[in-house]
Symmetry: C2
Subunit: 375 residues, 2 copies
């Protein structure tokens, strides 16, 4: 009868067993067993300070520690010197496949320096604020935010706290915080120039939510690239969210302009939604309308037709973000840095040359309305 507890099982919830499970020996115990003071043991066991202690003593202590199964208690250590080696990662939607590789990159980069990663799913804005507070409570040394809405109380709070913070995938409109983002303008430029080079002239933009930086920047990139290509910027419709459903709805509005022969979507899911909208209108992709996506999500090479898209190396973004953050933690006074990762055009089968005979020609012009204004 090691413990008498149990039978009553009080309020079903709390009441953790009293003994702390099999926690190994404490430093004091190791020190006692080795016949030294615990401060000596502490120094001996820390590689950075081990050279202060004579080698034989270090060896003896190390041995004792091993035989006792000693494990440094990071909680206690963190309390004393404020280094928790913990960073928080805030993500708006963990289930979104974009964030998995980012998280993986972050984790990989941080693990090298023995940092721990505390993830939190920030469904909404206020939730995110609370999460930030809780991370601060845990003394996270820094934050990686994948959640930045354009004007964001979370960002404000982070700068207010002076907490080293790095944005990934989305930029800080005010430039107060470091960020690692795909080069959104350039990505959209690649897509538009590709479509233009295929002969398309009436290109529509299926934009993302305009209150997040990717949505806004890609829209800008679209306009600029159209100018660069000497084309009149086509209609633009912003989807309410980065989802297939929102994409389908927005694409449907876009397609009210029957002159379009290509759609550059701000995101793969939107592009897939657009394909649905096309199918619903009995339009073929790419025969009637070419479609480009953005992100190169897993599996978009397996859809029909395989999606031409802009690849963004999310893994790299996460990794770079982590690197930036570690720099900022080490030197908090470093000015914010912006890193853009280069996008890459991935050619697949959802885009095709404009067929002079087909597309516009073969399809009845909408009655009357020549250039339906959208956006």
């Amino acid at each position: 009868m090691s413990d008498s507890v149990s039978p009553p099982t009080p309020p079903k919830q709390a009441k953790v067993s009293t003994r702390p499970a099999s926690r190994g020996a404490t430093l004091q115990q190791v020190a006692d067993a080795a016949g030294v003071h615990r401060s000596t043991a502490s120094r001996a066991l820390n590689p950075e300070t081990a050279d202060l202690i004579s080698p034989d003593v270090v060896a003896r202590i190390a041995e004792t520690a091993a035989s006792l199964g000693y494990r440094r208690d990071l909680i206690a250590a963190s309390l004393r010197n404020s280094r928790t080696r913990l960073v928080g990662v805030l993500v708006p939607d963990l289930a979104n496949p974009v964030f998995a590789p980012i998280l993986a990159g972050v984790e990989a980069a941080l693990a090298k320096d023995h940092y721990g990663v505390l993830v939190a799913n920030a469904a909404n804005d206020v939730g995110a604020l609370e999460l930030v507070e809780s991370l601060v409570s845990r003394r996270a040394e820094g934050l990686i935010l994948a959640t930045a809405h354009r004007r964001d109380r979370v960002l404000a709070r982070c700068v207010e706290l002076g907490l080293p913070t790095v944005l990934v995938n989305r930029a800080d409109p005010d430039g107060r915080l470091s960020a690692v983002t795909p080069d959104d303008r350039q990505g959209m430029r690649l897509a538009v120039l590709h479509l233009a080079s295929l002969g398309h002239r009436r290109i529509g933009h299926l934009a993302g939510p305009q209150d997040v930086s990717t949505g806004a920047l890609r829209a800008e990139g679209f306009r600029e690239a159209m100018m660069e290509a000497g084309l009149e910027p086509g209609p633009m419709v912003a989807a309410g969210a980065y989802s297939r459903e929102a994409g389908e709805a927005a694409a449907d509005r876009l397609l009210a302009d029957r002159s379009l022969t290509a759609i550059a979507a701000a995101n793969d899911l939107l592009a897939l939604g657009a394909m649905r909208a096309l199918a619903a209108r009995r339009l073929r992709c790419p025969a009637d309308v070419s479609v480009t996506g953005h992100n190169d999500m897993p599996l978009v090479d397996m859809v029909e037709p395989p999606l031409t898209t802009i690849r963004i190396c999310h893994d790299l973004i996460g990794r770079e973000g982590a690197r930036l953050l570690l720099e900022r933690i080490a030197q908090p006074d470093l000015p914010p840095a912006q890193i853009r990762t280069a996008p890459e055009l991935i050619l697949r089968a959802s885009t095709a040359p404009l067929r002079a005979t087909a597309a516009v020609g073969s399809r009845a012009r909408p009655k009357g309305q020549a250039f339906p204004k959208t956006e």
Copy 2:
């Protein structure tokens, strides 16, 4: 080059700024400001003990705390009472889209109880062991493992440590630990019976790695379901990994048996690989060979043909795993529990009725070898 990187950049690594950034007030400061002892402040600020203190004092302290921006230091609190409210989640491959929803489920369930989630990516077995140690160092109260190979030193270590641990997505062969898994046998049964109901009789199994429980159980499920359907179990080939490439290679071997009219894959990626292998052999899916997957990964409804598969609610698995873990943390002596989540057949277009005239009939029988033995 918006950042100058700062000339000196000492040893690139350490040298943390001395001041602890803008950490809020300490409990002592709040107490002083409110004119009470810090123990009183502590009790007043803790909902559980606030009723020990007279209401007016509680109010005064709460007010003072708010105005000083006090935030409880969980590190210090954890040191004193051993509750860190932290659990570790070990994942073999964060970038794998299966784990994102699991993680999301875990996070959601734990966040409700104000638990933090420490994620770690355990690329290999030894790495995983180290990660476990580091999580213990951080005093994680429990572990969720998505990584269990069949015989696993990590599992052994967890039971040895007496650390509350729950497996998700994979079971413990020895049943020492709680686990939440999809009902793999049943899932494969659904797939096989579906194929059988379409008239298929020669069905091959594109199995997963046999050293993980999903791979083994689904293979068993396949055999059993074939028996149940009154069919002679077809050839089985195990892929070396759950990847499209491995799936393609294994499927290619499977297809050496030209009599097959259907393939039940242990995983969606394997199924997609199989589709490639079919395409390479100029076989049509589903006209010539039906294919089923497993998992219902995102986007497999958009591939061509849309994949008929078995849906597994990974979100739920994560959620249940977290629930189980919290129970085990609260009552460490609870016996291990096994939960199976029900799979669901998702009908799409990669399976079709066996055409009496087509398939087998239309294709030349392989020279001589009637039933090539594989696996």
